[in-house]
Amino acid sequence: MKYLDEYRDQRIARALASEIVQRTTRPWVLMEICGGQTHTIMRYGLDELLPRGIELVHGPGCPVCVTPLETVDKAIELALRPDVILVSYGDMLRVPGSRSDLLRAKAQGADVRIAYSPTEAVKIARSNPDRKVVFLAIGFETTAPANAMAAWQAKREGLTNFSMLVSHVLVPPAIRALMVSQTNRVQGFIAPGHVCTVVGCKDYEGLIRDFRIPIVVGGFEPVDILEAVLMLVRQLEAGEAKLENQYVRSVSYQGNLPAQQIMAEVFEVADQKWRGIGSIPQSGLRLREDYSAYDANRIFDLGELTVDEPAECISAQVLQGLKKPTDCPAFGMRCTPENPLGAPMVSTEGACAAYYHYRRHAVAT
């Protein structure tokens, strides 16, 4: 496909990789935030093209993985009510809650429907006026404008049977949390190109100022990622720390203004819990007061239970780049995409799933 094949071209990838080899004189630890980028790295074996000294650690940017366990449990509880239709993005269905998952609820008779776009959830509400339609609105900044649009549309149409169970996370506060952590090893970040397509690059300036760390906004194809690594290595070797944009074909400094506008109209910034990581101040979005009539948390009487992850799952460390999926004793044995113990094994953007699909040969069994 145009604008895709060329970013997957092996010759360009190799040329970039050899330039990285030449530029690297010391070891560097770099983190790609986005799970989509992790997927590309594993799928194309990009880490194997890099010099030994360059370590890529994988970040928390998998929306499905960081959606709190409690939210999954609430979605299941709602789905099992006979008057509810629960609408979700497809990759949430197999994410384990504390006792079950949405797919199993569906097998038990719950009306769970998969939507490709939030507008489909609104459409389902429109055509089922006698049912309560709850949309599981999860994601990063990339998905927030589309999810906001669903609430905005429902309000404009005066739909009374539509609501959203919201779990929205933001990237810059997560980078800040990683940087202030005692265990941080990351020396440079590849910022997620699709998030920045929506919100622009300005929020990253503050991180560079506060932590003197290079950040390069990167795309999702192999050539994008290798180019972003090269840009980071150049900065690090030169002792620089600045914001650079590798993904210029999609990302502008100010981002997408109409998308930001609808986000701000519907959502406000709030403290947010990240599955596996814990609560991070001001790192999420919730529905504004004006939209409280569309907030499933307010409409339904849902318990606020705190539940624990299975003790075996080390997704907390995986999501913070402290451990690799292959360090997990359950990886590929008791935890597989067919029988996931933790969320990172479910989503295509989850690091454990990426390692399972593309790197299983590396773990001797």
Binding site: S117, T119, T143, P145, M149, R249, S252
Partner: protein
């Protein structure tokens, strides 16, 4: 809500142009959950493409059609 038909490889999908009102016929757009979030800057995207095209390494492709 302004919408367009966008071709993804072989599949054609209905996509909202609410956030990219300036997009028009033949444009390349970045799409996320049914919404276009940016218009791909063709000059930037073609930087690498041009090089390869000159070498005859790429197949031509049809641009997306709008309704």
């Amino acid at each position: 809500m302004r919408a367009a038909r966008v071709q993804f490889g072989g599949i054609v999908r209905q996509v909202s142009l609410s956030f990219v009102p300036e997009a028009g016929l033949g444009d390349y757009v970045m799409v996320h959950v049914g919404f276009a979030i940016s218009r791909v800057d063709s000059l930037e995207a073609e930087r690498t493409y041009k090089l390869l095209e000159e070498m005859g390494a790429l197949e031509p492709e049809l641009p997306p059609a709008e309704e």
